[in-house]
Symmetry: C2
Subunit: 155 residues, 2 copies
DNA sequence: CATGGACCGTTGAAAATGTCAATCATTGGT
DNA sequence: ACCAATGATTGACATTTTCAACGGTCCATG
């Protein structure tokens, strides 16, 4: 062989060096897909997916979000939140409490069991995240999170 | 008022400061959703979505990818690639050529019209990307791309 | 050179997600 | 007291994802 010590499959990495290799939207989509798959796999043993994990997380740390707020924050349709909360409530991980300040709204609160499960699931989630970024310094890890926050919450 | 000069809606940003605010998987999902929506909106005037744009991009820069390679690279099921290519081929933006080296495989090539459209769409796509990261230095922009590549292509 | 297992693209169906409109109960402004 | 606006819910519909099966082609064996 000629040039360098690269271990690249011919067809595959010609694509990686193509126009899309610099396309942020594409990189984001692909990174998200892989990352999501890893997270779902890790959360499966707790009976959760990334979605239900997120809802449980927000219920578990006492923010007392309404379903509307959940929908906005998770970028979901309110009807999807209904289904998600239904699932968690049936498993007694979470309770709907009508907001005393606005009786149309339901506020989400985690049960003890919910907090327990979340604590365990969170460990798994953190392990995945560290595994994904194992090759990167903690500073870069945090920098990535910061830049993603900019994209995720454009004020 | 009391503490700081923050302009935060009470309910909304309590969530942002919750556990999920540091969760890479969540940030990635949300950033991806917003970014994808912006890209789709911008590409719509060219009759494309992020998906078809990606396929067209890979066909247009002469990498001559097979559909299998496309599927792997775009993290899609081969059957989805069929539909995507069907659409582009019907619009005469792309051609299927059976790979002379392996007559099972189709190689994708952009037509002149396809390259033209891609050139225009690419400008729109770049504008979106710059708009999304307008508040960030070019160095940080590139750093973000680099970190996302790590997640998107874990070798 | 014949054969069989693996691979490519295609099809079709099933499951999961995303999107939307209509409804009921409640709220808050006038 | 009224009425437009809002939160949750339901049900319908479109889109996306995932999977299994198939015909055509390749290639490593015998």
């Amino acid at each position: 062989m000629s040039a360098s010590g690269k271990t690249r499959v011919p067809g595959r990495d010609a694509l990686r060096d193509s126009v899309l290799g610099d396309d942020l939207v594409f990189l984001l989509a692909r990174a998200n897909a892989l990352t999501l798959a890893a997270a779902n796999a890790a959360l499966a043993e707790h009976g959760l997916k990334a979605r239900s994990y997120s809802v449980l997380a927000l219920a578990a740390d006492g923010a007392r979000p309404t379903q509307r707020e959940l929908a906005e924050f998770l970028h979901l349709d309110p009807s999807q939140v209904v289904a998600l909360v239904d699932g968690l409530e049936q498993r007694q991980l979470v309770e709907r409490r009508t907001d005393p300040a606005d009786r149309r709204a339901n506020v989400l609160v985690a049960t003890d069991a919910g907090r327990d499960l979340f604590a365990r699931a969170q460990q798994a989630a953190r392990a995945v995240e560290l595994g994904l970024l194992a090759t990167v310094t903690p500073e870069e890890h945090e920098r990535l999170a910061g830049l993603l926050r900019l994209l995720a919450f454009p004020d």
